[in-house]
């Protein structure tokens, strides 16, 4: 029966303090909208930079006299290394075609023989795309028979890695500030909401309600408030993404619907933020109530 009381008082509390409740839902929604947009903006930004990064990390040029067996051996060595997500072989003819496509000249018409070497292009996964690992790989390859040269686009690689690192730090700092301001903003609103219920809290304390019985309906209210705020924030983000795509402004590679973990995270964050915020506000008020 106490559960009935808690549920009923929670619902009645919302009905009786409709305005402060709606304002709090709105503030949680705005706060979580900022968090959600922040997460998706960072994710999309990283995806964009990731796309911008070269299709491959390094190119292994072979000597002109490399035999089919040498090439097979080199291929086996490359694929035998962990962290290789892609390996492409470019024959001398492929290299000539690329040269033609890039410079508009047919290399065979300029020279009698095709001087361009055949090569392997190698791409690493994110876990292994770091300077020390790649350098170790280069050293191995340079010692392999029939390998002429290994070209690692170090400058571009390091620049992109640097940019990514800065973005990670900036994004983490921005998200942290957003979350912090979200917590303060929401806590303040919840405190105002609880303040409007001072009379009720005082009355039930005097009538012999335990702390649990005072707090429980508010905890429920807070949970509902947080859920509504988070759900509305998610809907707003979804609407925004759809609108951006519909009006051909930008087609985002990362969307909230593709990331249920972001939706679940927002809901959990919203519910915890609001219910704990409400509890804290009630606990603080109980210090001043009989």
């Amino acid at each position: 029966m106490k559960l009935n009381y808690i549920i009923r008082e929670g619902v009645i509390g919302i009905r009786r303090a409709r305005m402060p409740f709606m304002i709090s839902v709105f503030s949680v929604m705005i706060a979580l909208l900022m968090v959600g947009i922040g997460i998706l903006a960072v994710d999309n930004g990283l995806q964009y930079i990731g796309n911008f990064q070269a299709d491959y990390d390094l190119e292994i040029f072979l000597e002109n006299g490399a035999t089919l067996g040498d090439k097979q051996e080199i291929s086996d060595i490359i694929t035998g290394n962990p962290g290789i997500i892609r390996m492409d072989y470019l024959s001398k003819e492929d290299a000539a075609a690329l040269y033609n496509a890039e410079f508009g000249e047919d290399v065979l018409s300029l020279l009698d023989d095709n001087p361009l070497p055949s090569s392997f292009r190698v791409t690493f996964d994110d876990e292994h795309r770091n300077g020390s690992y790649i350098q170790l790989f280069i050293n191995t390859m340079e010692m392999t028979r029939s390998v002429d040269e290994v070209i690692f686009k170090k400058d571009l690689f390091e620049r992109i890695q640097g940019i990514l690192k800065s973005i990670y730090i900036a994004a983490a700092a921005a998200l942290f500030s957003i979350i912090l301001s979200t917590v303060f903003l929401t806590a303040n609103n919840l405190r105002l909401m609880i303040l409007s219920r001072y009379e009720f809290i005082e009355a039930v304390r005097l009538l012999g309600a335990s702390d649990f019985m005072v707090k429980a309906p508010f905890f429920l209210e807070g949970g509902l408030l947080g859920f509504l705020g988070a759900a509305l924030a998610t809907l707003c983000i979804f609407g925004l993404e759809t609108a951006l795509a519909y009006f051909n402004i930008i087609d985002l590679p990362v969307r909230i619907v593709n990331h249920p973990e972001v939706i679940v995270g927002l809901l959990i964050f919203g519910i915890s933020l609001a219910s704990l915020g409400v509890l804290k506000a009630v606990r603080r008020m109980l210090r001043f109530v009989a």
Partner: protein, 219 residues
């Protein structure tokens, strides 16, 4: 049932009551009598454990208020009914819900709550007012609602802090009659007042206060 053992309560602005030493038994009707500021409300607040003595002890149902935990205070309050000068009814719910609240806090079933509220409202003559809001009633009626809320759990002690302060003489007399009826059913009633005529109308044990000190106890 209630024991004050050399209890002194000191506010930052000065002493409120000093060296209170008395006991109240379960079958008593007691007036706490004195002018405004003499410490009547402080005594009642110490009984329902809203205030705690700086020196000495206050025991209610053998529970020492100074060492009581919040849970224990809640348990004591469930056995103490309170009627305040300003009624302290919740304006955002009707009179039925106001009266039913203490039972709901204790987890009583809705049907039982309903029958008890209706029965008590009948006794107090306020049944027709149950679905009105407190602010729609006169002062006397509001005080009867407050009395019903205080009595709905059948408490062992009823504290009445100047319950007739804002009422006309007819309403005051009604409330006094009700307090005596409640007492006759076995509830210990502690009535704080500054009006001397009540003491003459319905004589009972009187603890007289002046400036926070007991100057007479007719026990």
């Amino acid at each position: 049932m209630i024991n004050f053992k050399k209890a002194t309560l000191r506010y930052d602005s000065g002493i409120s009551v000093r060296n209170l030493d008395f006991s109240i038994e379960g079958d008593e009707f007691v007036y706490i009598y004195g002018p405004s500021g003499s410490g009547k409300s402080s005594i009642l607040k110490m009984i329902y454990m809203d205030l705690f003595p700086n020196e000495g002890e206050v025991l209610v149902f053998d529970q020492n208020s100074s060492s009581a935990k919040r849970r224990e205070i809640a348990r004591v309050r469930q056995q103490v009914g309170m009627v305040f000068e300003g009624f302290k009814l919740l304006a955002d719910r009707d009179n039925y819900c106001n009266i039913a609240l203490p039972l709901e806090i204790q987890g009583m079933k809705a049907d039982d709550v309903h029958s008890r509220v209706v029965r008590l409202a009948d006794d107090l003559g306020i049944r027709s007012r149950l679905h009105h809001f407190p602010q729609e009633l006169s002062g006397g009626e509001q005080q009867r609602i407050a009395l019903a809320r205080a009595m709905i759990t059948s408490p062992k002690i009823l504290l009445a802090d100047e319950p007739t302060a804002h009422l006309d003489s007819k309403a005051s007399t009604d409330i006094m009659e009700w307090l005596w009826k409640i007492h006759q059913k076995g509830t210990c009633v502690i009535f704080a007042t500054h009006k001397e005529h009540f003491l003459k109308q319905e004589p009972a044990r009187t603890i007289s206060l002046i400036a926070g000190e007991i100057v007479a106890d007719s026990a």
